[in-house]
Symmetry: C2
Subunit: 424 residues, 2 copies
């Protein structure tokens, strides 16, 4: 992509009303634009990151959990919520059909997926089943001030699993823990993200969250250094020992964290509400046992920015970076475009990298100084910065700098490609 | 994909309340499930088709029109609509923020994209610009009875273009016509879809629709056989001659059709409302000239089904088919699974095709008769049906039938792959 035509310019200063670091950097870098608090547009750079997070999640859902992707609607009939007793949830947006009938905007999809599954599940042969979607959710938050971390409209992956019994559910739930761990690992949050014991509500001992440690987090967790799990503040009072390794609670470390995912045993709570049952081999009817598993894509994106940044901007992990290479052309002074060997060399390298299937943002802007270009590159945070200038052309080389390393290095294009490959 | 675990079963009879052919076939085939009228869930098969339509559209947007993909929110502040005078549009869904403030659900995004573009457009250097998204739209229709053809919640591609002047806009508009023609061609609607002159509203002579001829269409168009364009019923009274080739109106053929896309000159209607302007080379300020370009993905899907079907079911064009090959295993009677050479041969071919990158739905179901499997295959409508049975295994061959051909043919796997390649 040529930066001269890229939609979304960098800003020197963050907007005054964006007090969270993630939104501040994402708005300044041209990744997102705020519509109203908690509601953002994704610009081309931001959408690329979101798509990469989605791809990581889909890989684990399809290949590891054998789940099937579907797409459910955002508009839900209120009657479904009356059946589950959730029609009074305070974060629901309400609306009405012109033809009569009350609707809510989905903040979760139990009330839709269970009646849907009921159409197709009748026998033990139909179980187990995993259904997921990556879809827009709505939460009517009173306040939304944490940028991507608490949205009123946001993209979410929600998975629902259906089982013949508790035992089968529990095996799947353990596999989901591993898949989630892998997702956060691949998205660059592995070092900061902990499986966290949280409240299971009225019908289950625990649920589990995945909490990423960051000062921007709205949650408080207690970290067990022994076994690398955490306990959510909401249930710490009930614990005397770490529920995993039995270490005394007093030894746990208090941290601020943001919940990037959660997995939750639903047991037969929603199956009972909608009469979702199956017939076993011997002809007996049983309610279906369920679990649900959520990941907020915008939250993951926001958490990555909170964790990976320095005073100059974002430092994207390679797996989710909008582009792999930021190619920066520093034009020769007092030369026309057509006479400048720097332009020729930059265009050639740009096309060469594209031909190799490498994603490149090419800063071909004519109205920016070298200083402005470097400042923008640091702010945008693409992993590999490559400079082509009068100096590099004379030496038949390119200047390569990693976003997270202090120094740059002159090298040949061939060496650079080898370096890239090692990391690809 | 193994059909034994595929979510979404076929139904022998269509639901009584689905009077439209497209929804009837799509529900029966296990592609979609209705939540309420005009609001559907996409099951795995349906989502695959939707994704393929999206891929075709993205290709034309990115590569042909040089447009950039973004993602705007569904929740819009009513204030933006008050600025354009569109707050009374009757298909708007309304809702409210818990913190105060009225919102509508987007049925289009002019009110969002223009303020967004205003953040970044200031100079002639920022133009032209094309921004598009593939995103969920909401229309509070009084009645929704045409299945996928008129939804209350549906996926839409909406593109907005921004130009320095009318001349630049018109060149882009002509390119958009060609891109749209290619999209419908690639999606299998080329033969039935016509560029159609429609009303330009109060501020433009014409807009243009792309209308697909089908009995299920809610629109009436007049087809000019001379120059292969059409005129929408809404403006036929104003015409004496075909606006393209000048043929007398009396010669035009009346047809029922469904609008699958439209392109619309917005001139400075929305730029004026939000003060979107730019400064030219000489320092003078001008309003930005705009166009908008929509395609309803669900409508395209519905139109494909209306056009491509027979009494037995859907006949997907290869470009949008959920899978390329439907592999049907007809097990040997009275043999255990592990002893049945048919199972071995089917598994081997399934894995062989997957390894070649061919998308296969493998009917490995044990509880269905040959007749049931063939009926399902016709209903689902995958282009290539491949049968493996006792007979084919004995002859070391496979039985291949195209969905749109009456007869099947015994051939080797190698020949089949060559056949497939010709069409790939």
């Amino acid at each position: 992509m040529r930066q001269s035509i890229l939609f979304g310019k960098t800003l020197r200063k963050g907007p005054k009303d964006e007090i969270s670091k993630n939104a501040n950097l994402l708005v300044r870098g041209g990744f997102v634009a705020k519509e109203i608090a908690g509601i953002y547009s994704f610009l081309p750079l931001g959408l690329r990151v979101l798509d990469k997070i989605a791809r990581i999640i889909r890989g684990e859902m399809n290949d590891v959990l054998g789940a099937q992707e579907i797409l459910m609607p955002a508009l839900h009939p209120i009657e479904n919520y009356q059946k589950t007793g959730r029609e009074k949830i305070d974060v629901l947006f309400h609306t009405e059909l012109a033809s009569g009938g009350k609707l809510v905007l989905g903040q979760s999809h139990e009330e839709i997926v269970v009646p849907l599954a009921k159409h197709f599940i009748s026998s033990y042969r139909d179980l187990p089943l995993g259904l997921y979607q990556i879809q827009t959710k709505f939460r009517n938050e009173l306040r939304a001030k944490s940028g991507m971390l608490r949205g009123r409209e946001f993209m979410m992956k929600d998975l629902y699993s259906f089982h013949a019994d508790e035992n089968d559910f529990e095996k799947y739930y353990e596999r989901a823990k591993i898949a989630y761990k892998d997702i956060f690992e691949k998205a660059g949050l592995g070092g900061q993200t902990y499986l966290t014991f949280a409240s299971g509500g009225t019908f289950s001992k625990y649920s589990h969250e995945f909490q990423t440690i960051t000062e921007a987090g709205e949650d408080t967790i207690y970290l067990c250094k022994e076994c690398k799990i955490a306990i959510n503040d909401e249930i710490i009072g009930e614990q005397k020992n770490c529920p995993q390794c039995n270490a005394p609670i007093a030894k746990l470390l208090q941290e601020k964290a943001i919940e990037v995912g959660n997995i939750f045993p639903l047991k037969t709570r929603f199956s009972d509400a909608f009469g979702l049952s199956y017939i076993d081999k011997s002809g007996q009817t049983h309610p279906v046992v369920m679990g649900c598993y959520g990941i907020g894509l915008g939250r993951v994106l926001g958490a990555i920015v909170e964790v990976h940044n320095d005073k100059n901007g974002i430092i994207w992990p390679e797996s989710v970076a909008p582009y792999k290479v930021h190619l920066i052309e520093l034009r020769t002074k007092n030369l026309e475009l057509s006479d400048d060997p720097v332009r020729g060399a930059a265009e050639k390298l740009y096309n060469h990298l594209l031909a190799k299937g490498i994603e490149v943002l090419y800063d071909d802007r004519d109205d920016k100084t070298a200083g402005e270009k470097f400042t923008d590159a640091d702010l945008i945070g693409i992993p590999w910065r490559v400079v082509i200038s009068e100096k590099t052309v004379q030496r038949n080389a390119i200047e390569v700098k990693k976003r997270d390393s202090p120094g740059s290095e002159l090298m040949s294009v061939v060496s650079f490609l080898q370096n890239l490959k090692v990391k690809m």
